[in-house]
């Protein structure tokens, strides 16, 4: 058995491909960051639409979220890459992958935001209203700052799962980690070695990220003593130094 494994796992024979794989991992990370950036903003906008007073906005956003959540992400990617060109919208693989994943994740992230908004106690709304705040002010000053604290850990978890889901865009030929690995493995037939290396690369990136999310989670439980702004400032300082 061990013999068999060692004969299959030909690290030495595959090491020449390692730079390619690491470059592809960078693409995966870029995808993750791009999609997350779009998804965080779009998700927030959709969530605000879903809790808005306007019926039209509520209906549109609800339909969007339900349609996206009710169909496979792969299908959405196919749609963007293969169907949209028929309507004259032709996207390169990378942008198509970003758009496809962003469409998908914005729907899920909006649900996270919405849960956070709903979790703010009713008394907070009433107190803001009694103080004469407009809905907009209340959202900005009272509701969202409290909701954000609740949603940071789940958003972090989505961030990690997004990193893994970027492998889906290999289907539209984005040269990220999964796609690159498949190409290499198909040429040198070192499936075991290549896919194991890919697994290790994914894990070595997502595990520290998950530890960081756990750290954030603990931090959010501490309460409101230390302001998040101060935390961010310190984080920026340590990153700079």
């Amino acid at each position: 058995m061990l013999d068999r494994i060692s004969s299959l796992f030909d690290f030495r024979g595959s090491i020449e491909y390692l730079p390619d794989l690491l470059m592809a991992a960078v693409v995966s990370v870029e995808l993750t960051l791009a999609v997350m950036a779009i998804g965080l903003v779009a998700g927030l906008i959709i969530a605000l639409m879903r809790v808005s007073h306007s019926r039209t906005l509520r209906v549109i956003s609800t339909l969007y979220v339900e349609a996206i959540r009710g169909t496979p992400c792969l299908l959405q990617l196919f749609y963007i890459y293969f169907v949209l060109p028929a309507f004259g919208i032709r996207l390169d693989p990378f942008p198509a992958g970003v758009v496809g994943l962003a469409v998908n994740y914005s729907a899920y992230l909006s649900e996270v935001y919405r849960a956070g908004i709903i979790a703010v106690p009713r008394g907070q709304l009433e107190a803001s209203q009694a103080l004469g705040m407009s809905r907009r002010l209340m959202m900005r000053l009272i509701i969202l700052p409290q909701a954000i604290r609740v949603v940071v850990p789940p958003l972090g978890n989505y961030f990690i799962s997004l990193f893994k889901d970027t492998s889906l865009v290999s289907i539209v030929t984005v040269k990220e980690l999964m796609f690159t690995g498949q190409i290499i493995a198909a040429t040198n037939f070192q499936y075991f070695t290549i896919f194991t290396i890919i697994g290790v690369i994914y894990l070595s990136l997502s595990y520290p990220a998950s530890l960081f999310v756990q750290y954030l989670e603990r931090r959010m439980k501490v309460g409101y003593r230390r302001k998040p702004t101060r935390f961010l400032r310190r984080a920026a300082k340590s990153a700079g130094g």
């Binding site: 907070q124 009433e126 009694a130 004469g132 809905r135 002010l137 409290q146 309460g223 409101y224």
Partner: protein
Amino acid sequence: MIRLEKVCKSFGHLQVLKDVDLEVQKGEVVCVIGPSGAGKSTMLRCINHLEAINSGTIFIEGQPVYRYMRGGRLVIDKEKRVEQIRSQVGMVFQSFNLFPHFTALENIMVSPLHVLREPLAELKPRALALMAKVGLSDKVGAYPHELSGGQQQRVAIARALAMRPKAMLFDEVTSALDPELVGDVLRVMRQLAADGMTMIVVTHEMGFAREVADRVIFMADGLIVEEGPPAEIFTRPKNDRTSQFLRSVLQRRQESGEETEPTA
């Protein structure tokens, strides 16, 4: 100052307010007492439009507000006007509802700063003075969760006062407090009454009502059953339900041997 005319409010099939008429003069302190479920809190919440009334009219400074009939048509006030009126009527809640992500001082300043757009240079000394007024000068930088219930409630009162309201509504503000903390809150309210603030106070503190109120209103089953000066209501209630209620409250007091009112 505040007038309710035939105000009705239902939750589903349950009618909570039945043709309630009430008039509160400027500077008057009105205490509302009565059994739970009588509609006391709902009445206050209607005055601040936290609940929309089903029929009748609420007047604030002589103007009909929120939603009312005019010339056979239902008028619904624009959100801007509702906000403006609300900012003139302060409200303090049973559950404090301080903003947990702001310090005590920020809680007081947030609304004047953003709603009234008062410059911070003027606002800050005023907010500090309000903190002093409620006896919490040493808690300016504290977050709500670092304060006791009584302290939180006093910050909540200061927060409402910071909007320079023309009237204040108090919704069972001492009901969620430990008995030993009630006195501090009542002291602040007593001072406020002495300063001439128009107040409507829904309360279970009979001692406070008796001492501070210009007028006591007894509500039951969505109706104002009886009203009058405290001396009259507490000593010679005309209505059977009133005397029954007062007897049961008094009895409960004596049984528990509890006197939450500071005797000073």
